[in-house]
């Protein structure tokens, strides 16, 4: 029956979604509660004394004006710097689409049922996309609760776009994980490759930022993290070409995974 896999995956995943969402929400809340501890004007003066490459490396870069606001502190200090943490959940979920169940033999049972491989992949992908939305919504809730508890006076509305911009980023990471798993077959191989990809991307982004104005700067552009810039989002709102890029690449990777998974042996 169409939708049965989607519903079951959601039943199996909601607790993990809640755990991850609440954990990240707690982290967000903590960062928000820290805001009153800093005088943003002093912070700005202090940061202005830093060499530009240091500012770039800690993710502030040319966003000093933005960073020295309550919302900027949360956007860049939490959302910008925690991008690597946000990539962990979609990797875990992406591994579950095929690699984990293939490795432990569950996929044999599932694919012996009247359901196509494509249907299994698409329904699982969609279910995990919903769980990503759930995690991000909980993070947003964490920001809001932190603001209320600490009476911080954040303009939470300005952080809405920074928060929900995480959704296409996380879906992109999950799609990449799914593709690697479809290609690599073995869970551990897939996990190793996707971990290397994510860490390398994060490193390239950092190098690209630190090397602003040098020949190494373009390195940052090949990192998918570079298209989630909390400072830019806070200034400009949703950057639609970047979002469209994440979505388009995710769909391409979903399609490539379907083609590859349809053609190869399962569980060998």
């Amino acid at each position: 029956m169409t939708g049965a896999v989607f519903i079951e995956i959601f039943k199996q995943t909601w607790k993990q979604m809640l755990a991850w969402g609440l954990g990240l929400a707690a982290l967000a809340m903590l960062v928000v509660l820290m805001v009153p501890l800093f005088d943003m004007q002093d912070m700005k003066t202090l940061l202005e004394s830093f060499p530009p490459f240091i500012l770039a490396m800690i993710g502030v870069g040319r966003d000093l004006e933005v960073f020295a606001t309550n919302e900027g502190f949360v956007a860049i200090g939490f959302f910008g710097k925690s991008a690597l943490i946000f990539a962990v959940y979609p990797v875990v979920m992406g591994m579950r689409i095929t690699a984990e169940e293939e490795d432990n033999g569950i996929m044999d049972v599932l694919l012996s049922l009247p359901v196509s491989r494509a249907q299994v992949l698409v329904e699982k992908f969609l279910a995990y996309c919903v769980s990503i939305v759930g995690v991000v919504a909980l993070i947003y809730l964490g920001v809001g609760i932190g603001d209320s508890l600490g009476n911080v006076g954040l303009d939470v509305g300005r952080l809405t776009e920074v928060t929900f911009y995480l959704i296409p980023l996380m879906i992109f990471v999950m799609a990449a994980t799914m593709l690697v798993a479809a290609l690599a077959r073995r869970r551990m191989v897939a996990l190793g490759v996707i971990t290397a990809f994510v860490v390398a991307s994060f490193s390239l982004q950092t190098i690209g930022l630190a090397a602003e104005g040098t020949v190494a700067e373009p390195l940052g552009t090949v990192s998918f993290f570079s298209y989630y810039n909390a400072g830019d989002i806070l200034r400009e709102g949703f950057i639609w070409p970047h979002i469209a890029g994440y979505i388009a690449l995710s769909l391409v990777m979903l399609g490539a995974s379907l083609v590859r998974y349809e053609r190869r042996d399962v569980g060998v």
């Binding site: 033999g105 049972v109 049922l113 042996d265 399962v266």
Partner: protein, 310 residues
């Protein structure tokens, strides 16, 4: 005849790897399974039984040849075929954190007719004395196997494909399993089961295919296969094997491959026990043990011309 076969495999080969690392798992396998029969797919571990089953289920793709079930191509029409089959894998893995009832409900929901499938699953679970309220991770291997059987049979499939179905089942449950299979056959349905246990195949199968190194050696009725008429006899004497007894046993036409080691003697007996027992009488026998031929013995006997029909 082939058109009415439930399973029709033609020239099926499966080669893993390539070049010097290529391994032939199946070699031009051709086999038909007829409606209403319990077909035993017999062979030692690594013979290619599971590979055949995985091709039939479209989990792996053949290197050459074709397989069809109910006249439908196993690859192109796998979803339609899977609607009518039940499958129990050799190594069953299920969702550890879900209860048996939840797993049953999930699989029933994929199959579509949740209410009637779940009802039948509960009846089967009761027959197999399986508590489906327990989480999968808390089930013993035998109970997990029972759950696998329930899942395979709960939607009343037309064809059951079972890979080593009684692995880990205690003898009482094996008996229930045999009853279930016979009832299944009585309804005109078909069973394709793989095994390396001869007694299991003898107990329930109508016909047997013998697979070895990916090659189907023969398809026989069970009676013909097991009519090899030899046994292994182990004798333990109190004071070593007496020389006259050893000589007498060697001279018996029915005894071959005689081997004495200290107080122990092992021999192959073809035919009646009486001449052997009379010869043993000259010594003091402490223990006598008769061993049924193994599947490997039957293979060897069969191909050396001593087996059924030979």
């Amino acid at each position: 005849m082939a058109a009415s076969s439930v399973i029709d495999i033609k020239g099926l080969s499966k080669i893993y790897g390539s070049g010097s690392k290529a391994t032939v798992a199946l070699d031009k396998l051709t086999l038909q399974v007829q409606p209403g029969e319990i077909f035993g797919y017999l062979g030692p571990n690594g013979a290619g039984k599971t590979t055949t089953i995985r091709v039939l289920l479209d989990l792996i793709r053949p290197s050459s040849g074709s397989a069809s079930i109910f006249g439908m191509d196993a690859r192109q029409q796998s979803v339609e075929i899977h609607q009518r089959i039940g499958f129990l894998p050799g190594e069953l893995s299920l969702w550890q954190g879900r209860s048996g009832a939840q797993v049953i409900h999930y699989i029933a929901s994929v199959r579509g007719d949740i209410k009637s499938i779940v009802k039948q699953a509960e009846e089967l679970a009761a027959r197999l004395k399986l508590d489906i309220s327990k989480k999968v991770r808390d089930l013993s291997s035998g109970n997990k196997r029972k759950l696998g059987l329930v899942i395979a049979m709960m939607h009343s499939p037309d064809l059951l494909i079972l890979d080593e179905p009684t692995n880990g089942l205690d003898p009482l449950v094996q008996q229930t399993f045999h009853e279930l299979m016979n009832e299944f056959r009585d309804k005109g349905k078909t069973v394709f089961l793989s095994s390396h246990v001869l007694s299991e195949v003898q107990a329930i199968c109508d016909r047997v295919g013998i697979l070895r190194d990916g090659d189907l050696k023969a398809v026989q009725s069970v009676d013909a296969l097991t009519d090899v008429k030899f046994r292994w006899v182990h004798v333990q004497f109190r004071d070593g094997v007496p020389a006259e007894v050893a000589q007498g046993l060697r001279n018996l036409p029915a005894v071959s491959e005689f081997n004495a080691d200290g107080p122990h003697a092992r021999m192959r007996l073809q035919g009646d026990f009486d001449p052997l027992l009379r010869t043993l009488g000259a010594g003091y026998v402490e223990q006598l043990h008769v061993e049924e031929p193994t599947l490997e013995d039957i293979f060897l006997a069969y191909y050396s011309g001593e087996g059924a029909g030979a």
